[in-house]
Amino acid sequence: MILPPFEYVECTSIEEVIDALGDGDSDRDARIVAGGTVVVPMMKHDLLRPDVLVSLERVAGLEGVEQSNGEITIGALARHREVSRSESVREAAPMLAQACGLVASPVIRSMGSLGGNLCYGESASDPSPVLLALNARLHVSGPNGTRTVPIEDFFVGFYETAVGPEEVLTHVEIPRQPRESRWTYRKWTPRAREDKPLIGLAATIRPDGAARLAVGGINPTPVLLGSASVRASDSDLSEREVNDIADAAAAEVDPFEDLQGSEEYRREMVRVWVGRVLRALREVEVDR
C-alpha cells in the first residue's frame, strides 16, 4: 500500500519537536510518530493524512523508567514491553506492569510506546484505567512551556486528549502508592486475547480504605467510577454490599456501542466485572 506523500522530520530534542509541530493553527497538519503502531495504521486507513510526521525516536530524555522514593517516572517513549518488565514498575506499581504486558501482542508491545497509547486517547486501552486508579500525572510540553495534567483531566472526549496539536507528552509520573495497597487489573476480550479490552477494570484499595476503580472500553473515554470508588472503601464488604456497588457502577457509566457489544451489554459487563474485582480484592493477601 502506498501512502500519500508527507514530510518526515526526525528531531533530537523537545524544542525541535515543538518547533516542528508549528503553532497548531495553520493548515499544515503535523503529527507525532513514536512506535508507529497507531499513526501508521490510521494513515493506511485514511483516518489521518498528515503533511508532516515528527519522529520522537531520537529525542533525548524520553526513554526509560526511573524510580525515586517509590515515585515512578516513565518517559513517553518507553515501550509497553519495557514497562511491563521494569523492576521498578513491578515493585512500585505492579498493576501497570501487568496491564502493559496485556496490550495487543508481544511484538506490538515492543514497538508501541506508553505515551503513544495515552495520546491515542483510546477508551479501550489497558494502561489508561490503571493510570487513573493510580492517580498518575502527565507532563506535557508546548510552545508556552511545560504543564502537568492530572490523569483525570487528560481524557477529554472520544479519541481526544488534553494534549494540543502543538504539544507533546514527555513523561508520566506515578505517585508513591502506600505499602500494603491491594490492587488488580482485569481485562475481558470476548474474542482473542490480543484484542483491545471490551472492558478493562483497574482497582486499588489503600490500607486506609481509600479505593479507586477505573474502567476502560465502556464510556467514550477511560473513566474513574466515582460512586463505586467511594463505597468500595469500606473494608470487609459483604456479598450484598459488593452487589450494591456493582449495581451503582453499572448505573453510573454511559457506554458507547460497537460491533463488540451493545450499550446494554457493556453496562452489564460493568456490573459483572466490578463484582468480580471487589470479590477478588477481598481475597488478596497483602504481603508487600
Binding site: P5, Y8, V40, S55, V107, M111
Partner: protein
C-alpha cells in the same frame, strides 16, 4: 539539527538512510511514505519478507531490528536509519536449512508457507533473547503471527522442539 526530508525540486521528497541489512551496509534515499517492508521488497529486492494485513496484526512482515522482532509494515523506511535489519534471507544463506526450518518441515508446520518467514523471525528473536520459555510463553510469543493453513499446533510443536521447550498434550 533535526533530520528532515529534502523537498528540493522533486515532486516527492526523500530522506537519506544508512542501515545494515543482513550484514550489508546500505546507503539510500527513500520516500518517507514507503513502509520498511515495501522498501525491503522493492528497494532492496528481498522478497522473502511477506505482506499480509499491512496494519500490524498478522505478523507476515516480521523482521529483526537490532535483534528484536518488529512488524516492518508499521515502520517507515526512514526509521530503519542507524539500525541493523535481519530478514528471512539471512537465516539459511546456503543450501542447508536452518534447524528451525528443518523442524517446521519435519513437523508439517507449514502448508502454503506464506506465514513461515514471519514465524521463523519471531521464533529466532525469542531464542536470541535468551529468556526462559515454557509452552505457555511460547504460545503467547507467537500470538501476533497468524497462519491460515495449519491450525498452529504443528508450528508450536516445531518451535518448541527448536527451543528445547517441553510440550504438554492438551
Amino acid at each position: 539539527m533535526p533530520r528532515v526530508t529534502d523537498a528540493g525540486a522533486q515532486m516527492t521528497p526523500t530522506v537519506g538512510i544508512r542501515c545494515v541489512v543482513n550484514g550489508k551496509t546500505i546507503e539510500d534515499s527513500v520516500e518517507p511514505r514507503t513502509s520498511l517492508v515495501d522498501y525491503l521488497r522493492h528497494g532492496v529486492g528481498l522478497t522473502g519478507t511477506h505482506v499480509g494485513c499491512e496494519q500490524g496484526v498478522c505478523g507476515m512482515c516480521t523482521v529483526l531490528v537490532d535483534g528484536v522482532a518488529a512488524k516492518s509494515c508499521l515502520m517507515l523506511a526512514p526509521q530503519a536509519d542507524g539500525h541493523e535489519i535481519r530478514t528471512i534471507e539471512s537465516v539459511a544463506p546456503g543450501e542447508e536449512l536452518h534447524p528451525l526450518q528443518e523442524a517446521l518441515r519435519d513437523h508439517h508446520g507449514l502448508q502454503c508457507g506464506y506465514c513461515t518467514p514471519g514465524f521463523v523471525m519471531t521464533a529466532l528473536a525469542l531464542k536470541d533473547s535468551g529468556a526462559a520459555c515454557d509452552e505457555a510463553t511460547l504460545r503467547a510469543e507467537l500470538s501476533g503471527n497468524l497462519c491460515r493453513c495449519t491450525g498452529y499446533q504443528n508450528i508450536v510443536t516445531a518451535v518448541a522442539e527448536f527451543l528445547g521447550v517441553e510440550e504438554h498434550p492438551a
